[in-house]
Symmetry: C2
Subunit: 563 residues, 2 copies
């Protein structure tokens, strides 16, 4: 009754589920579809390349909830695939739309550009299926609306990328638009009541009996959107609450119950002590990867653990498949009997600046990260990169409302530059005035530097701290401290924004070599309140690394060498 073109249907659905900007790069197989982006009230980002676009979409989704990426067949999608794989690995919902040759060309096995020359038009979709939770090939108009709705629902609920293949001859096919009046159902399936109650009882039994229970919040609590439940749990119980490196930012670090970052032997002693002597750890959304656990160095026992996942819960060694954490947590909050609860105190967390200020002028890693904690403000978005910054940030205490973005599991360098662009754009799209602050190593920055161009193009508010330490310091600590392969070229980093199109009004540049210069910069009013792009080249020693990076690197090297 209300026929709409497929492309319009798709983009209106994206708008409906909260997306406002579309990342990607044009190509002749997606051009016609792109015409429908502004019509659906969406912004075309116009990314500089597809990998950066994928990283940016990842950062956008981490900030706004979900995102979309449009690429072209073969060349575009494969350029992006590492970024999308990262979103899969890290549970980020990204809708990847690939404009592909017409169904007619496909059927005829035409020898087209952007193919392997073998007439196989499914090979790239097959590659992507390994890193997508749904793959939709939009080949038949009668099925397309269903396919799109299903894919978007899967993307949201499973919090992972989906892959949508849109042939050129389908982009403007008309499908029934009346469906658009009914929003896609994004509600998570509810747990069976009996089953859920059973698990809640078990949890409460252990919780009420525990002498020193604590809460540990990890990545999947953020990714599967149970932070409200977790905050209510903390608020109500006032139990000591800790975060893992991937969970950092999930908890208000100014809350009296907040106790710090736990990562086994990478933790501060008082944190390790409290966690490892607890007789019950409510572990919410755990994702125990090597770098998230300082090399698998937890010394907690499964006998005193309850793990809450998006697909199941595990109490000690008992598994409860199909019981998702949200419902359980909600009921635990409602039903917990505070009178039966033992409440140990939390270790105190502070930015230990004075303690780490040695007498040298040099900005050491030990000094820098707590110092940055004092510079950060409520609701900042903080992006850190694989390298010294991902580990240094453990020693930064966040103000309330800070969102922390890291890619600790996938760990693809260069990601943070794209992610910062996406995050800042998301904040802009949400109409909130948050600062996006990026900490990126000089090595990582080189991989994706041109994403700064997109920041400028959209006038985004980003402050970039580029850690200038002459190369791959994290790698040096794993292997090859002096090796040539860990060196990089010396760029004129502060000139990068100018070259990528920023006028002098659009960017402010700084070279910071000493503690005093740093102090002055981060207390400067203008610096703190800047509305646009700022670029800080920050000198740090080549052979200096945060405490926990040294520990983790040593374990990684041993693991690699083990025969």
């Amino acid at each position: 009754k209300t026929p709409v073109p497929v492309a319009e249907y798709l983009f209106r659905r994206l708008h409906e589920i909260g997306i406002r900007s579309i990342h990607g790069v044009p190509g002749d197989f997606n051009l016609v579809a792109l015409d429908y982006i502004p019509k659906a009230g969406l912004r075309w980002v116009g990314s500089v390349n597809e990998l950066n676009a994928a990283y940016a979409a990842d950062g956008y989704a981490r900030t706004k909830g979900i995102s979309a990426l449009v690429t072209t067949f073969g060349v575009g999608e494969l350029s992006a695939i590492n970024g999308v794989a990262g979103s899969f690995s890290e549970h980020i919902p990204v809708v990847h739309i690939v404009g592909c040759p017409s169904t007619i060309s496909q059927r005829n096995g035409m020898l087209l550009h952007h193919t392997l020359g073998n007439g196989d038009f499914n090979v790239f979709a097959n590659m992507s299926s390994a890193i997508s939770c749904d793959t939709a090939r939009l080949n038949k108009p009668s099925e397309i609306a269903d396919q799109i709705d299903h894919a978007l629902r899967e993307c949201w609920i499973r919090s992972r990328p989906v892959y949508i293949m849109l042939p050129t001859d389908m982009a403007e096919q008309k499908i029934e638009g009346a469906r658009l009046d009914t929003p896609i159902d994004l509600a998570e399936p509810k747990n069976g009541v009996e089953r859920e109650d059973y698990v809640v009882d078990v949890v409460l039994k252990y919780l009420h009996a525990a002498k020193s229970p604590v809460i540990l919040v990890d990545a999947c609590a953020i990714r599967h959107r149970v932070l409200e439940e977790v905050h209510d749990l903390v608020e109500k119980t006032q139990l000591p609450v800790f975060v893992t490196p991937m969970g950092k930012g999930a908890i208000n670090e100014s809350h009296p119950a907040y106790g710090g970052v736990y990562a086994g032997s990478g933790s501060r002693p008082d944190v390790a002590n409290r966690l490892e002597s607890a007789d019950l750890v409510l572990s919410i959304g755990p994702l125990k990867s090597d770098f998230n656990t300082a090399g698998f160095s937890y010394r907690t026992s499964q006998l005193s653990s309850i793990d809450f996942h998006s697909t199941h819960c595990t109490v000690r060694y008992s598994e409860y498949p199909g019981v998702a954490m949200r419902g359980v947590l909600r009921k635990v909050v409602e039903r917990v009997d505070l009178s039966k609860l033992s409440r140990p105190t939390s270790p105190e967390v502070a930015n230990e600046v004075a303690k780490n200020r040695d007498s040298s002028e040099t900005i050491t890693q030990a000094f820098f990260w707590p110092r940055i904690g004092e510079y950060l403000k409520e609701d900042d978005i903080v992006v850190t990169e694989t390298g010294t910054s991902n580990f240094g940030i453990w020693d930064t205490k966040y103000p309330r409302g800070v969102t922390g973005l890291t890619q600790i599991l996938w760990g693809s360098i260069g990601w943070s530059v794209g992610a910062a662009q996406g995050a800042a754009l998301a904040a802009k799209d949400m109409g909130v005035d948050r600062r996006t602050i990026l900490f990126v190593g000089d090595g990582s920055f080189q991989l994706t530097a041109q994403e700064v161009s997109t920041m400028i193009r959209h006038n985004l508010k980003v402050t970039i701290f580029l850690i200038y330490n002459e190369g791959f310091t994290i790698e040096r600590f794993i292997h090859g401290m002096e090796a040539e392969y860990n060196d990089i070229s010396r760029w004129q980093y502060t000139e990068v924004p100018t070259v990528f199109g920023a006028s002098d009004k659009q960017v402010r540049k700084f070279v910071i070599k000493t503690k005093d210069e740093l102090d002055k910069l981060v207390t400067d009013k203008e610096f703190n309140e800047a509305g646009g792009l700022q670029f800080v080249e920050l000198w740090m020693p080549k052979e200096d690394a945060p405490r926990v990076l040294k520990i983790t690197a040593e374990i990684a090297a041993k693991n690699n060498a083990k025969m």
Copy 2:
């Protein structure tokens, strides 16, 4: 008897087959292996990112015959995969070595960084297997030498990428080194004599009977290394010889028998005429993709064609599987009876500068490409990018010995910047003093701009002509002439090399806006003889495209829209 570490074995084999520089980016899963690169007499390139590294390896292989690329598990290899897919599509032999977690970690399904978090360590290798002609997982020391030798042989003979997965705990395992005394056998399998003679007889029968036979040289003649046979055939028969766009550079364009570029309706009328009225086309290494045929617009008949492939030959409609072109061509050269041969004349080919010089100052596409033909010198390496340059170059007549690098089938933009770096490095490694000249669009350049940094790092001799036409002109001609998505940010292009580390001595910069400025530049002695990097920002109109691009774009748009 002479135990050598696996990494040493591998890199010594790479040296043996002609590789001198290894492209790639370090990661903790490949660091230990990298230590063996200098020991094997190889140079580590230290690329800025993996996609650029893959593009560069592609360019290196096109120039030096074969190349290698080292990445790290997951993040690194997937970043490179689009580049390697291009090498697969275009028949370029690239050895892709991926440092991966130890066999022990794999067996234990450890939750490591750079994984999808699902314990699956084969998922990336499986993705790569679709774009590799051999996949070797080096897990058992006793099999490794065989696996390596086999992979390298396949890579060379089939002229396509191979994938080698090297676990950290295997890099230093000792294997028998005595094998290294015997070089890998890279000889192509010979055709069966009787079969081959049969095909030669058929070919000669048609050739001797033809009234107006011509030769058409395409991509696979270059890729499967039969240019010597082709040159001998031309020399002996003096038959008119043409090239396709992907075959451009295969034939000495100053040779009297050379007749120009054939691509159906994209050809100059006299060329189209000669080809399409020929009663026999000896088509050597044909690869009839859309952009290589100006949108499938050949008007030749299979009834008057003999196709020579690396795996078979086809005479009219008769197929001869298993008969590779090399042996057949060699015998045709030996046995052709010149007294029975009709030899039509070739169309004349010239750089039509005067004819295309209109009275405006503007550098038009029509003017530029023939003009460049006069600037080029013998043995130059010319790299062109998907966009106006790939089509414009059809109107450039190459001097003798010019190598033309294009990626017409895969067509991934940004490729040319990496490929130019790889080609220039290959020339350097070969100890020859060739100029590498890159023509790249402003849009394409933005994707991989930082590869200029690698050119500087290795002091490569590259002249870059950046076609500044404010965006994606080729796309404009396909769809969306005025569309915002075809616009790009204005960069300070000429400052790019400086920002990426070039001193004023290392780079010369030019902004060229008029025909006169261009004339002056390309006739300047210093410009012509420069030993390092030169960067030319070349202004061309936004809505101007080479003649053949307009034709091809129209056909592509129609193809896409067909319902």
